[in-house]
């Protein structure tokens, strides 16, 4: 693998090679485990990354169903986040969902010149009068910061005037270096103004109350996870933020355990909730049968209740019984094949177990915008230096809320548990990868082409932008953000859906028709032009 990496790097101009070298790593037993991540994108390199607005509005805030999310900017940003990410949601009885809508101030030239504040205030007024939402969010886009529109002042005034929460997010697209900055900005605001604002009286609190953090219900993932949790006996107070109502998030501090699925996007809140309210978090992975089962077992261990543990085992057994025959069929079709994963900030790690369960090995994996802790584990956190591009993202510090702080168990017992289960811990992607596999950060177009040719995987799990590039090379590319409009992929039933889709993708008959017969079989005497799946570089 080192040879392949070197060969590809060698094709870069010197400066680019110097930069990219730091972002590519081959895992070796004794080799260095350090990778450069969360640094600025090289202009012109053809990155897959998006911006802070996408990370804030598109990812974290947008899925909250009963809020009107107003994008303050020209029309594009709002338009491109309109129903494009498959964070599903359903209005509760008597409640509302605005997921089918896109709201924008549609800034015009005169607004750029004279400021867009008046228009924003008027837009909020219209939104309140027409839609009567539970709450409103305002997301800033690139020009907003540049022309100096004070969206926070507008939000404050509107909140007083209409008596509903109005949250302003300064998530201009140029902040930070990727979507990641937007996650952080969103986390800060939710923590400051939403979490902890609605108490559940003690008498109404339920045993085994949890929150699912960093789960956006793509293709119904959260519903499938919740189905199983409910079956075991858990109560999910809030999911951040797939299919969430505003009120759920306000109540999140009442739970007894936070489950962190997507570490990158939500670890800030997980940490802050623990400091402020004494509620510990645990890393889970709901993707894949074994990962999901282990996460369920860890949850039961946390609550330490024998009956809960027993029920957990029973449910796991039942669920696996339901799916094992079907999944084995797909395993027969997929086993022995190799996979490459390149997904945002979490799935490139989380899907490796599921791929393994259907017999596939991940030979290369990378994140668009993961940080070093997502690659190397949280132990690295004290050693990460913030560079100039991320330093301007606010680091929110919270303090213990004396009134609402509640220890869920004695500190000694928690320390004991930490030895057994991943409380406040995430070991990162590299830890779970095999030796001689490639870890790559911020994969670009050139590298995608080169690595596909060199590795010839059967499966490339990535996004919409590279899907068709890779499929033109004769390699099945599955969208791991949108699930190619399928899903759920989380949980037990999700594992079957994923396996079914993957088997179909690898084996669809069309692949065998790429080379026309007249290029395979001689019609007249003469030589056959060599065609078909691309050769290695």
């Amino acid at each position: 693998m080192n040879k392949i990496v070197d060969r590809i790097l060698f094709r870069y101009p010197a400066k680019v090679m110097k930069n990219r070298k730091e972002h590519i790593l081959v895992k070796e037993p004794e080799g260095p485990k350090e990778i450069s991540a969360n640094t600025r994108t090289l202009p012109g390199i053809i990155t897959n990354r998006g911006c802070a607005y996408a990370g804030c509005k598109g990812v974290v805030i947008g899925p909250i169903i009963d809020m009107v999310h107003i994008t303050h900017g020209p029309v594009g940003c709002s338009y491109y986040t309109w129903a494009a990410r498959r964070n599903k949601g359903k209005a509760r009885e008597g409640g509302k969902s605005f997921l089918e809508y896109a709201f924008t101030t549609d800034l015009q030239e005169s607004d750029i010149v004279f400021g867009g504040i008046k228009k924003l205030a008027q837009a909020i007024k219209e939104a309140v009068e027409i839609f009567h939402p539970k709450a409103i969010s305002i997301a800033a886009t690139c020009p907003v910061g540049l022309i100096g529109d004070d969206i926070h002042a507008v939000a404050k005034k509107a909140q007083e005037e209409y008596g509903i929460p109005v949250l302003a997010f300064s998530c201009e697209g140029y902040k930070g270096v990727s979507q990641s900055a937007g996650h952080h900005i969103a986390n800060n605001k939710l923590m400051k103004d939403v979490v902890g604002t609605e108490d559940i009286p003690e008498a109404q609190r339920k045993k085994y109350s949890v929150n699912i953090l960093g789960e956006y219900n793509i293709g119904g993932d959260e519903w499938e996870i919740k189905r199983v949790l409910n079956k075991i006996g858990y109560t999910v107070i809030a999911t951040l933020t797939g299919d969430a109502e505003y009120g759920d998030i306000a109540k999140a501090h009442n739970a007894d355990l936070n489950l962190v699925q997507c570490h990158r996007s939500i670890n800030y809140i997980a940490d802050m909730i623990e400091i402020k309210y004494g509620l510990p978090w645990m890393k889970v992975n709901f993707i894949g049968i074994e990962n999901f089962s282990n996460s369920l077992r860890n949850m039961a261990k946390y609550f330490g209740d024998a009956e809960l543990m027993e029920r957990t085992e029973r449910v796991i057994q039942e669920e696996i019984e339901d799916i094992k025959d079907e999944i084995n069929r797909y395993k027969e079709m997929c086993k022995g094949k190799t996979a490459v994963l390149f997904v945002g900030g979490s799935r490139a790690h989380h899907y490796q177990g599921l791929l393994k369960e259907i017999g596939m090995e991940t030979v290369m994996a990378g994140y668009e915008f993961g940080h070093r802790d997502d690659y190397e584990g949280r132990d690295i956190l004290p050693y990460i230096k913030l560079d100039a591009d991320t330093r301007n993202i606010e680091e929110l510090t919270v303090e213990k809320d004396e009134r609402k702080y509640r220890l869920r168990m004695s500190p000694e017992k928690l320390e004991e548990l930490k030895k057994e289960i991943p409380i406040n811990q995430y070991k990162g992607m590299i830890h779970d990868m095999k030796d001689n596999t490639i870890i790559i950060d911020d994969l670009n177009h050139f590298e995608t082409e080169m690595f596909i040719k060199a590795l010839k995987p059967a499966f490339f799990g990535s996004g919409i932008k590279d899907k068709y590039i890779v499929e033109k090379m004769g390699v099945y590319s599955k969208q791991m953000h949108s699930y190619d409009y399928s899903g759920p992929y989380a949980g037990f039933r999700g594992a079957v859906n994923f396996a079914r889709d993957t088997a179909a993708g690898i084996h669809t008959p069309a692949w065998s028709y790429i080379v026309p017969p007249w290029k395979k079989e001689p019609i007249l005497k003469g030589k056959i032009e060599k065609e078909g799946v691309e050769e290695a570089c």
Partner: protein, 455 residues
């Protein structure tokens, strides 16, 4: 579906809900992809470029490759010069395009980066070309962006040789599908007119799967052809909003006479297009084309009962919607609501003229409107059919009105990049779609005793 949209219409002056347009740079990116060997470059923060690539990819199900300057906060303060210079150098070193077409975003436009200065101070490899268009997202729509980039092709490249013309027609197809561009070219070839079409995404955004990825597919207008535009004997610009600016620029710069026509959707606009071609070239209509027209008329007569008198709402991009409205009228349909998100009074005037001259009085036409408003109109007074892009499917489901997908974007069906809607052939396809949509609904919902075998 869309349960929060009230029937009662209240005046909105600031809040746009479910826009019927998007922003400039995506149109510029699409136009740039219609140049052979071109890599579009987005001068702004990288989010825009990703969004535009994603959206075009979803529409075409094809690779859409473009680079970006990847602004950071620092660049916003000190200007994006270094980002663009470095970006262009990297692009040429790694991706080796023939030409880079730079568009801007609201970011670089607001801070006022001077692209002309930046590009002229950048080392561009010999024989390679960089052009640019200013595409501020807070002006117009994606159609404006397409128009600006198409115009930039003329501004930066077209020139007139002293030793005379090339005997070619310059043709600007407008913001239409690669399949439509191919169909327009087929018509020109049938009549026997040499031409330069720009931009031309056919062969680029509907390329075959051969097992080999080609970053710059065969299609697209070449840089040489763009330079040669100044030697054409005339220009036909299809669609005022998308194509007029480039045609006038070519007239101004190289004295190539501009003829602005509707996008040839429907029988009348296609007739007008062909008549113009004949007048400009003194050629004759080939038998094959006349036969196609006859087939279209035959079909119009055969199944007029499917759609005659049906009320229809049409929305989307102004040039397409204007032509489609005209076609709907010629089918005996009643366009009741006609809306575009793109601002511009020419749209309202042109559509109003079409409807008035057909004796239709009870209609609403609006530029710079949004889909929430269109939905509210429909809630107040229903139509039988909806014609527009994929976003119409929400209204379609909410109000149980069949949707014929047309225009940009179509994110949930295929066919649009392979089969045309322009020309006589395209018109037949539209009729088939309309007829099928209406009859499918009837078949699904009619009482069983009224279920028919032959329709």
């Amino acid at each position: 579906m869309l349960n929060n949209t009230p029937k009662e219409i209240s005046e909105r002056s600031a809040l746009v809900v479910n826009p019927a347009k998007t922003c400039q740079p995506i149109g510029a990116m699409y136009a740039a992809l219609g140049i052979h060997g071109c890599l579009p470059h987005s001068h702004g923060s990288q989010g825009c470029c990703s969004f535009h690539r994603m959206h075009l990819t979803r529409h075409f199900r094809e690779p859409i490759v473009a680079s970006t300057s990847s602004f950071t906060e620092g660049a916003c303060v000190f200007g994006g010069k270094t980002n663009l210079k470095k970006g262009l150098e990297t692009v040429f070193e790694i991706y080796n395009p023939e030409i880079v077409a730079v568009n801007t975003t609201c970011l670089s436009e607001t801070i006022g980066d001077d692209l002309s200065e930046i590009i002229s101070s950048t080392n561009i490899p010999k024989g390679k070309t960089v052009i640019y268009a200013n595409t501020p997202s807070y002006v117009g729509s994606h159609i404006t962006g397409f128009s600006n980039m198409t115009k930039a092709m003329v501004t930066h490249l077209a020139s007139k040789d002293e030793n005379g013309g090339n005997n070619k027609l310059a043709i600007i197809p407008g913001f239409v599908e690669p399949s439509d561009m191919a169909e327009i070219k087929r018509i020109l070839k049938l009549i026997g007119i040499p031409f330069i079409m720009f931009p031309d995404t056919s062969g680029v955004l509907n390329s075959p799967n051969t097992g080999k990825y080609v970053m710059y597919p065969k299609g697209g207008v070449t840089v040489e052809e763009l330079k040669d535009l100044g030697n054409c004997f005339g220009t036909i610009a299809l669609g005022k909003f998308a194509s007029e600016a480039a045609a006038y620029e070519l007239e101004k710069k190289c004295e190539v006479e501009a003829h602005v026509l509707k996008v040839p959707i429907g029988i009348k606009a296609t007739d007008d297009f062909i008549m113009e071609l004949l007048q400009m070239t003194v050629k004759e209509v080939p038998k094959e084309l006349e036969e196609e027209r006859g087939q279209l008329v035959d079909l119009m007569v055969d199944i007029h009962n499917h759609y005659h008198g049906k009320k229809v709402a049409i929305f989307g991009d102004p040039d397409i919607v204007t032509s489609m409205t005209e076609f709907a009228v010629s089918l005996g349909m009643i366009p009741k609501y006609v809306l575009t998100g793109t601002p511009g009074s020419a749209f309202e005037k042109d559509v109003t003229d079409i409807l008035k001259s057909a004796g239709i009085e009870d209609f609403r036409v609006k530029a710079a409107g949004d889909l929430m408003e269109l939905h509210q109109w429909i809630k107040n007074d229903k139509v039988d059919l909806l014609i527009g892009n994929t976003y119409g499917k929400y209204i379609s489901r909410a109000e149980n009105i069949p949707l014929v997908r047309m225009g940009f974007p179509i994110l949930d069906r295929v066919g649009h990049s392979y089969f045309p809607v322009v020309g006589y052939k395209g018109a037949m396809r539209i009729i088939e779609k309309i007829s099928t949509a209406l009859l499918d609904k009837y078949d699904r919902e009619c009482p069983e005793e009224d279920f028919e075998l032959v329709m």
